[in-house]
């Protein structure tokens, strides 16, 4: 896989659909993840944000998903290989922020830093 396919696979690995934030299909149903896409070359870290979207009046499920992702990334980050390289995904500060878009849709923004090593 190339780095963009690997990024999609990473975000799709948490049990709910994941979409490039610029390509969310009209028929997409909550919950899902949206993420921005920025890539670079060796030695440069790029900031990335993703959003968890849940249809709920409670923060419980979305927070559990956030914690699942946080555990997967880990304190020291997570290295994921792709063709001829790897991306080092790390949590950025602040890691997670709750956003209140409506009473019935919960959104949590996740901040990451990705260093592409290829």
């Amino acid at each position: 896989m190339n780095k963009l396919q690997t990024l999609q696979a990473f975000w799709s690995g948490f049990g709910i659909p994941a979409y490039d934030e610029n390509s969310v299909p009209d028929e997409a149903q909550l919950p899902y993840i949206t993420y921005d896409v920025s890539v670079d070359d060796f030695g440069n870290s790029v900031a990335q944000t993703a959003s968890l979207w849940y249809k709920s009046t409670s923060w419980r499920d979305i927070t559990e998903k956030e914690m699942e992702i946080a555990e997967f990334v880990g304190r020291g980050g997570r290295m994921i290989a792709y063709d001829n390289g790897a991306m080092w995904i790390r949590k950025a500060n602040p890691w997670a922020q709750r956003m209140s878009d409506s009473d019935t849709v919960k959104r949590m923004i996740l901040n990451l830093e990705i260093e592409y090593l290829d």
Partner: protein, 194 residues
């Protein structure tokens, strides 16, 4: 540009994160002992070799002639800053020190050294693109033998900040094995988790 390149396997050979300092490590199994403390600002290990140039006072002899260069010794140390402290770590940082009799919270420095003040330490850092799993993670590990706290016990407190404990441990050669350099390095690539 022809000479602007990096090795194709660079991502497999990078050391990551600050690493940890522990009192024991089994390279074959990846089993780690007790973490000595939490650090801040990373950790510095250095082997500073000291050389003598036997040709430096010989007329007409070029400086740094390899046939006349002699390795005189090594100054092997690790330094950094702890942000946690326990009675055990305070005793270790004091170097020559004991617990008071019957009181493991009371550390009493000494003015003389004992063999027990010299203990082994390991620094271990994440390494390679496969760095997960207790037995599969890649690592760079440095085993320092007979270390002694040569930086002494230090505390730097700051208003509204965490206290910091600067440290420096120096590894020592033993007369029981005078040719053994008091450190060794392990570099192991990780393997895929099952």
């Amino acid at each position: 540009m022809q000479y602007t390149q990096i090795p194709v396997d660079t991502f497999k050979n990078i050391q990551l994160n600050a690493g940890i300092i522990v009192d024991s490590f089994a390279p074959a199994t990846g089993e780690i002992g007790n973490l000595v403390g939490a650090t801040t600002g990373g950790i510095n290990f250095a082997d500073n070799p000291e050389f003598v140039d036997f040709g430096e006072d010989i007329d007409n002899c070029p400086k740094n002639t390899m046939e006349l260069k002699v390795l005189d010794g090594r100054d092997v140390n690790i330094s950094g800053t702890f942000v946690t402290v326990t009675p055990e770590l305070a005793k270790r940082l004091s170097g020559a020190a004991d617990f008071a009799t019957g009181d493991a919270t009371h550390i009493v420095p000494r003015n003389d050294l004992s063999r027990a003040d010299f203990t082994d330490l390991w620094w271990i850092g994440d390494y390679s693109d496969k760095n997960s799993g207790a037995t599969t993670a890649g690592y760079v590990a440095i085993h320092m033998m007979n270390t002694l706290s040569t930086g002494g016990f230090q505390i730097q407190s700051t208003d509204k900040e965490k206290g910091q404990f600067a440290f420096e441990f120096t590894a020592h050669t033993s007369l029981s094995s005078p040719t053994t350099v008091p450190y060794e390095i392990f570099v192991k690539e990780g393997t895929a988790q099952a």
